[in-house]
């Protein structure tokens, strides 16, 4: 039981990091970024590249990879999403699908599709840690939970207190009104994309250190969008309970069902939510009409 709880927490942290990316992007561009999973993969490969360049210097490699991830987010916004403003939502969503394809192609092109382990070059190890109650998790499992908690705490403070965060919330609410009050919403949206790519990249860096790195990791992202929707596509606060719920269902279905069922369980959560409360736990109801 303790093991199941610990596993739920770890999986929920991964989903929360990815879900934060979905919500940040949705609030900026009103688009579900189906490339979020590939941004995760890219984060992992950035870490692999920086670790190979600076072997044994995680203090240099980790921040550099995170910065590259955030930079990718800005580039994606400027190059792809800004030109898509005014196009139908459908087209914009497909552009993100395209982005995912391009990122995956670029990754295979540069790094080939061999399975990698960035930890080897980083000079760190990943020993198992026993917890209270007999549960055992790996060190990077704990890092994942810590990263999710830290990211959400930082985002919360940033959005509630800092002027830039308040501007971001305003622009996410209604871009036109925000721009009339002098908010540079292009800058704010670029920052949203940067944060989303950073969150995804962070999850990818930790996940690839913990498990493995391969170009098909992006599939994780597809499963995590269930989290964003269950919590409410435009609600950052909804991500946390939704991630916990989806992760709990997934862990339970491994325990009492089979691996195939656990693969599909996020989508079952999503379908149930769409039927009873399509706008999610804390989403805005009006969003349904607007899209």
């Amino acid at each position: 039981m303790a093991q199941a709880l610990a596993t739920t927490l770890v999986v929920a942290s991964l989903y929360a990091l990815l879900g934060a990316g979905y919500v940040l992007v949705y609030r900026a561009s009103r688009v579900l970024n189906l490339a979020q999973g590939d941004l995760l993969t890219l984060g992992g490969y950035f870490l692999f590249a920086t670790a190979a360049t600076f072997p044994g210097a995680p203090a240099l490699a980790l921040p550099l990879a995170a910065a590259l991830s955030a930079l990718t987010g800005v580039l994606v916004y400027v190059a792809l999403m800004r030109p898509m403003a005014g196009h139908p939502v459908f087209a914009a969503v497909l552009v993100t699908v395209t982005l995912g394809i391009l990122l995956r192609a670029a990754i295979v092109f540069v790094f080939t599709d061999r399975t990698r382990h960035p930890l080897q070059n980083l000079g760190l190890s990943n020993p198992p840690r026993p917890l209270a109650g007999g549960a055992v998790v790996s060190t990077f499992d704990l890092v994942m939970v810590g990263a999710a908690v830290a990211l959400f705490a930082a985002l919360f403070v940033f959005l509630k207190v800092s002027p830039l965060g308040i501007r971001m919330r305003a622009a996410g609410e209604r871009a036109l009104l925000a721009s009339q009050r002098g908010i540079n919403f292009h800058g704010v949206f670029a920052l949203s994309w940067a944060l989303a790519a950073f969150a995804g990249g962070l999850a990818g860096m930790i996940y690839s250190s913990n498990v493995r790195l391969e170009p098909s990791l992006g599939i994780l992202g597809l499963r995590a969008f269930a989290v964003a929707l269950v919590g409410g596509l435009d609600s950052l606060g909804g991500v946390v309970p939704a991630a916990l719920l989806v992760a709990a269902v997934e862990v339970a279905s491994v325990r009492w069902g089979n691996p195939l069922l656990s693969d599909v369980s996020p989508f079952l959560c999503l379908l149930v939510m769409l039927l009873i409360r399509p706008w999610g736990f804390f989403g805005t109801r009006e969003e349904l009409e607007r899209v």
């Binding site: 898509m84 196009h87 195939l260």
Partner: protein, 355 residues
């Protein structure tokens, strides 16, 4: 539909209903049919296989076009319908029912019910939310298929024997070429006729503005569901064809990227146009082979692992370019070229011309 913009008037209802109305078009169609009929005489098996693949893709693309292009309901779950069709056939074959006369109607029934089930959320959900619902449906169907595959013991998939119709056995490239091209043509005629029927007009009205459609008396719920059912029945039948054609069904063949492929076909071809769906299907099917040929021509010893991402990337890049620069797709380009040829030296159609 006169491309000449004037001077050609229809004088009877039959002429107005005809699908092929001018002499030039009749000539072009006859030529196309003759070429398609005679192709096995002079083309290699590889070319025939390519045409068959394109024809098969066209069936799926036409079905998706009914749902997304005409009715405006975004579906990311097209591969789910295909899988449902293929696995229904596989399940029946597994129980010893191999005749297509039984499996095809059964597949159509399963497809129709699935379309209805997936369509019901569309009465409440729009746009992005609906797309997510269809994507979730895709995963649920694949899960059910995966369970079935695991239960059957042999984890790799199901083998499907060549279908028999009376004394006719569909086996080999040429037989399948004729079967697939004929079926694609059949579906094309069906979709074109649907498009200009009451249902098609209702779908387009709903696509353009559902509130306005409802206010002129269109039963939005009914026609949304009918779009889903038409689309899913055709797609499920395409799935059954897939099973018979390949002779093998496995979950791996119906991943999310299959759905993306079909969406790319109707985007690249031109949303809402039957001709576009066919052109897009041919384009997306042939693109990987074209890139293969190109790579082989430029540098014969290029490593194989560079070819795969090049194909994948070119495909993504083309889709993005079409989305941003040519939302009307190949059909838009074709219409512009045609107008340019017919109207030269003028630039625009006369204002009063029938469109």
């Amino acid at each position: 539909m006169s491309a000449l913009g004037g001077g050609y008037f229809k004088t009877s209802y039959e002429a107005d209903l005809a699908l092929v109305d001018t002499r030039l078009r009749r000539l072009a169609l006859t030529a196309l049919v003759l070429v398609l009929l005679a192709l096995p005489r002079f083309a290699s098996g590889f070319v025939l296989d390519l045409v068959s693949q394109a024809a098969f893709a066209a069936i799926g693309a036409l079905a998706l076009n009914v749902l997304t292009g005409l009715a405006g309901q975004i579906s990311l779950g097209h591969a789910g319908f295909l899988a449902a069709g293929a696995f229904t056939t596989a399940a029946l074959v597994e129980r010893g029912i191999v005749s297509p006369l039984v499996t095809l109607p059964a597949t159509a029934l399963v497809g129709g019910v699935l379309g209805l089930v997936v369509g019901i959320p569309s009465l409440r959900l729009k746009g992005l939310y609906l797309a997510l619902g269809t994507l979730a449906m895709h995963h649920v169907v694949l899960y059910a298929a995966g369970e079935m595959q695991a239960r059957a013991g042999g984890n790799t998939g199901f083998t499907i024997p060549a279908p028999r119709l009376g004394g006719l056995v569909f086996r080999g490239t040429v037989a399948w070429y004729y079967a697939l091209v004929a079926l694609a043509a059949l579906v094309l005629v069906l979709v074109v006729n649907l498009q200009r029927s009451r249902a098609g007009r209702a779908w387009m009205a709903i696509r353009d503005r559902d509130v306005a459609a409802a206010s002129v008396g269109i039963d939005v719920a009914r026609y949304k569901l009918s779009a889903f059912v038409w689309s899913s029945v055709i797609t499920a039948l395409a799935g059954a064809l897939f099973a018979y054609h390949r002779g093998f069904v496995s979950v791996e063949a119906f991943g999310f990227f299959v759905a993306v492929d079909y969406i790319a076909m109707i985007i690249i071809g031109g949303l809402g146009s039957a001709l576009g769906a066919v052109l897009g299907a041919a384009f997306v099917t042939l693109l990987p082979y074209a890139i293969d040929a190109l790579v082989a021509g430029v540098s014969p010893d290029a490593a194989q692992y560079y070819v795969f991402p090049a194909k994948f990337g070119a495909f993504g890049l083309l889709m993005a370019l079409f989305l941003v620069f040519e939302p009307l797709g190949l059909v838009g380009i074709w219409r512009r070229v045609r107008n340019w040829v017919f109207l030269w030296p003028f630039r625009h159609r006369p204002l009063r011309a029938s469109s």
